[in-house]
Amino acid sequence: MRSATTLLSKPWTWSFFGAAFVFILAISFTGGVGAADMITTALSLAVFTIVVGLGQMMVITLGPGNVDLSLPANIGLASAVSMTLMNGSDSLVAVGLLAALGCGLAIGIANYLMIRALGIPPIVATLSSSFVVQSMDIAYGRGLQIKPPPGFADFINLQIGGVPVSAILVILLSAGVALLLRRTAYGRSVLAVGQNARAALFAGIAVERTRAATYALCGMLGGLDGALLAGYFRGANVDIGNEYLLSSIAVVVIGGTSVAGGKANVPGILGASLFLVLLLTMLNTFGVSAGVRLVATGLVIAAVVIAAGNRGLTDPDPG
């Protein structure tokens, strides 16, 4: 194994380098003050991007056109549902979490049914469902600021030696997803469907079941994220998921997963999430205005994608 050169040639390692670079810029601005806190906070925040990034990655890998734009609404509704059911009591945490997962699962299945049974393209289907879910959330939540149970909220915020426990758990989750993708028949089916859906059908793969399972999985991860976010920020609300629409897609692509489908990259999700969170932290440290922050974030995302290019496989055999 030519370790050093292979490592450098893999696209996703750059996202970790990018994260490190941005971090260095940030602390050089503060003169090194608060570096440890910055890392801890970044890790805590990256957790939420990673969870939805993993779900979005699976959906995008299903093939061109597949994307889940209902994640923000999903997150919002799940945060309200889970907090309501937990009802401030630690003994009901499991119930609340299950409800959040179930809510996300339902949204995922609904998305899939719209795509499959009604024939609506995924972009528009998931967008439309996000509208509907948003209304449900508004009607359900009715502005009540539901607080999470104290034990649950504390756990989400728990750190051991400056490392958030949630970050460790999310790394385990990522490992699980990677294993699912590479070493199970389901994961292989997702990759096959993403690369050539017709070939997958005629190779005997249960294409529609694979798609359904993937949208369901993504939905569940969104639901989970809703509950976790409500715990971390100590309260549920409708807009809690809004920023995750664009960031979930951005970490998938910056992390090296192919938008054309059929090729997924789990470590990239971790690196890219860290990178995005640290980028925002750096901009905040610099004290820039909202407008500059947006322009800078956008240019950086665009620049990263342009620099990486598209290592799409060109056919070396012309005949």
Partner: protein, 313 residues
């Protein structure tokens, strides 16, 4: 055996049928809305939406997607409300440069073979940020000539419908009837074939994106003319509205299959369904957003079902 079956005709007429259905529903609920004044009011936002939809159509024709058109429209209207009034020459130059920026973006996407979804996603942040920098809080005014244009009262047709007609004819002619339009569309159908025939894909992509930028500028200015003041956040819904309009109008994400006329009709349908229809149906405010979603689902499902019958699956 393969020439215009009844099912295919039906599929092509679907956008018009959807529009008719929405109008019929409105007529049922509020007959007075079906009048010159009624249409002018209900559809006053339809013109900027239609222009944005045409912009998206050029991008989709090339197998790409522009997730930044909404913020771009906001940006243009902000420029219009400030620079075009205070320093018009600089403002016009800025707008021309932004069309150039769109063209450059298209060229980079083609040159580096990038996924347009992500690049335009990044650009959406950029346009949004620029809009906020130019106009931090809603305000500004529309230039007189712009307001005058958007307030024209043509004799027979309400202005929005007349404008939509003009835009539809122009877009249809340019993309579907000219010889270079065939090349542009061909790049979405089989880019390799177009390249093999000696055409420059780089130039084609730049042209498609430049056209999108141009119509984006028209859209932003039209929006400003109608609302007479600008808001950096106003265009955010336009991205998804424009995509829905193209698809509703018979376009497909892949294959270079788009219909300019269908896209305009789709935009009109969505403009009507998005707000006026809901108001007449007395949907409570909490559920307005959800109702938009349901309408989108119903209309697109219908299109897909009829489309399936046309293809014979």
């Amino acid at each position: 055996m393969l020439h215009s079956s009844p099912a295919r005709v039906m599929r092509d007429l679907l956008p018009a049928l959807s529009l008719a259905l929405v109008m019929a529903t409105i007529a049922l609920l509020n007959p007075r809305a079906i009048s010159y004044l009624g249409f002018t009011l209900m559809l006053n936002l339809a013109v900027p939406i239609a222009l944005a939809t045409v912009a998206q159509m050029f991008i989709i024709a090339g197998n790409d997607l522009d997730l930044s058109i909404g913020p771009f429209v906001s940006f243009v209207s902000c420029v219009g409300a400030t620079w075009l009034i205070d320093k018009p020459a600089a403002g016009i130059l800025l707008l021309i440069m932004s069309v150039g920026g769109y063209a450059a973006l298209g060229a980079i996407i083609q040159w580096r073979k990038l996924p347009s979804i992500v690049v335009t996603l990044g650009m959406s942040f950029v346009w949004q940020g620029l809009a906020i920098l130019i106009l931090p809080s809603p305000g500004g005014t529309a230039p007189d000539w712009l307001q005058a244009l958007m307030n024209i009262k043509p004799p027979l047709l309400p202005f929005p419908i007349a404008a939509a007609l003009v835009i539809a004819v122009a877009a249809w002619f340019g993309l579907m009837r000219t010889s270079y339009g065939a090349i542009l569309r061909g790049s979405g159908g089989n880019a390799v074939a177009i390249a093999r025939a000696g055409w420059s894909l780089l130039k084609i992509k730049a042209v498609l994106f430049a056209l999108a930028g141009l119509f984006g500028v028209f859209s932003g200015l039209a929006l400003l003319g109608v609302t007479t003041s600008a808001d950096a956040n106003i265009g955010s819904g336009y991205t998804l509205l424009s995509i829905a309009g193209v698809i509703l109008g018979g376009g497909e994400f892949v294959g270079g299959i788009v219909s300019p006329v269908g896209a305009i009709i789709g935009a009109l349908t969505l403009a009507l369904a998005a707000s006026p229809l809901l108001t007449f149906l007395n949907i409570p405010p909490d559920w307005q957003v959800g109702a938009n979603g349901v309408i989108l689902i119903v209309v697109l499902a219908a299109r897909a079902q009829i489309g399936r019958k046309a293809v014979g699956t």
